[in-house]
Amino acid sequence: MSFKTFKIDDMDLSAAEDDTILQVAREHDIFIPTLCFLEGLSPVGACRLCLVEIKGSSKLVPACVTQVQEGMEVLTNSERLQKYRRMVIEMLFSEGNHICAVCVSNGHCDLQYLAQRLGVDHNELPYLHQQKPVDASHYRFAIDHNRCVLCTRCVRVCDEIEGAHTWDVMSHGIDSQVITDLMQPWGDSETCTSCGKCIQVCPTGALFKKSKAVAEMVKEHEFLPYLKTMRETK
């Protein structure tokens, strides 16, 4: 295996050649915000929160899928990036109907945390007030599309880890929505194994267990890297 030496935020680092910028940053406790990325699932580069600057290039690159290069100088927290990241968060808050105060994941939500961490204390963008459905037809779980950020973690975990591929995305653009089977009620799904992995990987309160009240839905996705390691070493 060959190695690369490079810089992140002026820190000299080295890594294996197929490591991504995000992997290396995490190893060295350099904060790069992520939302769609989840260790153990394939990266999709969709949320654009992990965009970083590369010195000498005007193009921003997603840290989750960009491999390190020899001599590369990465900037993870420029003012420009901070502004764009805040706008991404504002966009998500304007798109859905995120009422933290009455959400099952209040206090345990990635979106809420990121807003705080990135300094979003209000939203400059107008709220879109889209009417979105809630599907509570499953006997144990429910989905509130008002809180969905379309990170597709549920889609990926269901397909890549559970192997059921119950979840997918329907429609496009601002009308996109995650669906179970071919847009059937979740409770009627013949592919869903009720394993609950989607609940655990969901970054917000969109997917939750029915027994949970406000602020009670704590997500645990640490099983993912564990599962992955166990499968790989088997």
Binding site: L51, H172, G173, I174
Partner: protein, 548 residues
């Protein structure tokens, strides 16, 4: 088949053609087709049969003649007479005046700049050959390039010829085609694929459709040469399902080419094998983006993914894949036939060859044109296009569709090149060219394109999914006279953010129509704002000029 067989094949077709004194061409491409041109063709045939002229005169359906606004078009060869706005009732008049002076009421002048200022490579056969006949294509030197390449040139030589020709991708970004070919050729993979991108989706653009409808074999030949050069054995033509006529003709062309052994195993008795299949798109604009197109061909949701890895290294089903636009591939047989030097002598320093444009909007000669690179926008709009109808004044020309921008009068003398258009805040794009006169509101134009991008966003990345909607809402407010200075500021912030952070080209370029109209027509936005203060604006302008 060998060249010895190919040449007699072409000659027999030419001989057959010589038996006829006249050939009547009826356009059967989409635009004329939808105006019932098949019935016109049948009526003329019936008239000829009735007059007993079927030995001396034959009727042929052909591809687009270009001047779509005047359609349905009929041409009489070899006299070079062109008839416009024909109905089946005119059949008798047309047949009666063969050999005599043409019917003045119907004839369309052909010695105009619209015809003599064009330079045709890609469209050289359009309007001349029958797109349903492989014989016609062969008689027009078709498949000779493939034959020669397979028998006389090594794949490396083909690529070097492509590099030297200077051909750049005609789909939008203008990436050098030869470079792309060479990357795919060098990529390692058990298999390789060639994909023809015929998923033309810009509003007002119909270049690829016309090529596929008028000269489908040209695309197949271009693909086969590309496949030989990069080492692929399978090709796909990705066409949107909204182009039924193009699909029908391509399918027919594939069948004919297979029958004659121009596609399939051991083409021209060489070890080279290549098959082509058609894949239909459901008309999503984003599927013109190469990674989304690949996902769609694979049968998945047409979502783009981050690049790198580029399709050249990791494409269809993970194999190295060459994706070229239909017009790019249609240039290939001519480059191979006439040589790289011939091609690179046409056009300008950085932009070689010709470009097909779909000219539409407020211009007299709406239609399809092919012009050498470097021609000015003024020549295209005022000479070839015939200028603005109804005595109105020119205001702007939009190039590059929803990813492009609007260019005002003062830059009309800029040559049409990839770089110069980019400098002006627009792009060459795939070739849509929409002319606008003084009655168009540029804010409405920007809103129209933003609505398009919004409804065509795939929804995968947040900046494009939500940003296009937010920008559209702001443009809507401003265009209705309800916007404020704050709204305009927010719109500009969003433009910058969406350009910089979107995942694919659709999102990155979605703000372009807004940015370019703000650049050249900012006053139109300002005048619509509720808190617009003309005096303050003048003062601000003066200070900005001083600081500049």
């Amino acid at each position: 088949m060998t060249l010895d067989e190919l040449i007699p094949f072409a000659e027999s077709e030419l001989e057959e053609r010589e038996q006829y004194e006249h050939e009547i061409h009826v356009c059967v491409s989409s635009s004329c087709h939808s105006s019932n041109s098949e019935a016109i063709k049948d009526a003329i045939q019936a008239e000829i049969d009735a007059k007993g002229m079927s030995k001396t005169c034959r009727v042929k359906g052909v591809g687009c003649m270009g001047i779509c606004a005047a359609g349905p078009m009929v041409a009489v060869d070899p006299d070079g007479v062109l008839y416009e706005q024909i109905t089946p009732d005119h059949a008798a008049d047309i047949v009666a005046t063969i050999d005599k002076s043409p019917d003045e009421r119907l004839s369309h002048p052909t010695d105009t700049p619209f015809f003599n200022r064009q330079f045709k490579i890609v469209l050289e056969n359009a309007g001349k050959i029958d797109p349903n006949s492989i014989q016609d294509y062969i008689a027009a030197d078709g498949y000779t390039a493939l034959y020669k390449v397979l028998n006389e040139v090594m794949p490396k030589g083909v690529i070097s010829r492509m590099m030297r020709s200077g051909l750049r991708g005609r789909g939008g970004a203008g990436y050098p085609a030869g470079l792309k070919w060479s990357t795919v050729a060098k990529a390692k993979g058990e298999r390789k694929f060639v994909i023809c991108n015929g998923d033309e989706g810009d509003p007002g653009a119909f270049m690829d459709r016309s090529i596929m409808e008028a000269d489908p074999h040209r695309i197949l030949e271009g693909m086969a040469i590309a496949a030989y050069a990069v080492g692929a054995d399978q090709g796909y033509i990705y066409v949107r399902a909204e182009y039924p006529l193009a699909i029908k003709r391509l399918k027919n062309a594939i069948r004919q080419a297979k029958k004659l052994g121009f596609l399939g195993d051991n083409i021209f008795d060489t070890p080279f094998s290549f098959n082509v299949d058609i894949r239909l798109g459901a008309g999503a604009f984003v599927c013109g983006e190469e990674t989304a197109l690949i996902a769609s061909v694979e049968g998945g949701r047409g979502n783009p993914r981050p690049r790198p890895p580029y399709p050249a290294a990791y494409g269809l089903w993970g194999y190295p894949t060459l994706i070229n636009n239909a017009e790019t591939l249609a240039n290939v047989p001519s480059i191979m036939r006439h040589g790289a030097g011939w091609f690179s002598a046409i056009g300008t320093e950085g932009s070689k060859g010709t470009k097909v444009f779909a000219l539409s909007g407020r211009v007299k000669n709406i239609g399809l044109i092919e012009v050498p690179m470097g021609i000015t926008l003024r020549e295209i709009i005022f000479d070839i296009g015939g200028g603005i109808p109804d005595g109105k004044k020119f205001k702007a020309v939009q190039t590059g569709g929803p990813s492009g921008g609007c260019i005002p009068e003062e830059y009309l003398d800029m040559p049409v090149e990839y770089e110069s258009l980019k400098e002006l805040g627009s792009i060459m794009g795939s070739g849509g060219m929409i002319v606008m006169d003084e009655t168009s509101s540029m804010v409405d134009v920007a809103k129209y394109f933003m609505e398009f991008s919004m409804s065509e966003s795939c929804g995968k990345c947040i900046p494009c999914r939500v940003g296009t909607r937010q920008m559209h809402d702001l443009l809507d407010r401003i265009s209705k006279g309800m916007g404020t200075t704050h709204d305009l500021h927010q719109l500009e912030e969003l433009c910058d953010m969406v350009q910089a952070t979107s995942l694919c080209g659709l999102g990155q370029s979605a703000p372009n129509p807004v940015v370019s109209t703000l650049r050249y027509f900012r006053h139109e936005y300002l005048e619509l704002l509720t808190d617009y203060d003309p005096d303050a604006a003048v003062a601000a302008d003066e200070t900005s000029e001083v600081t500049q």
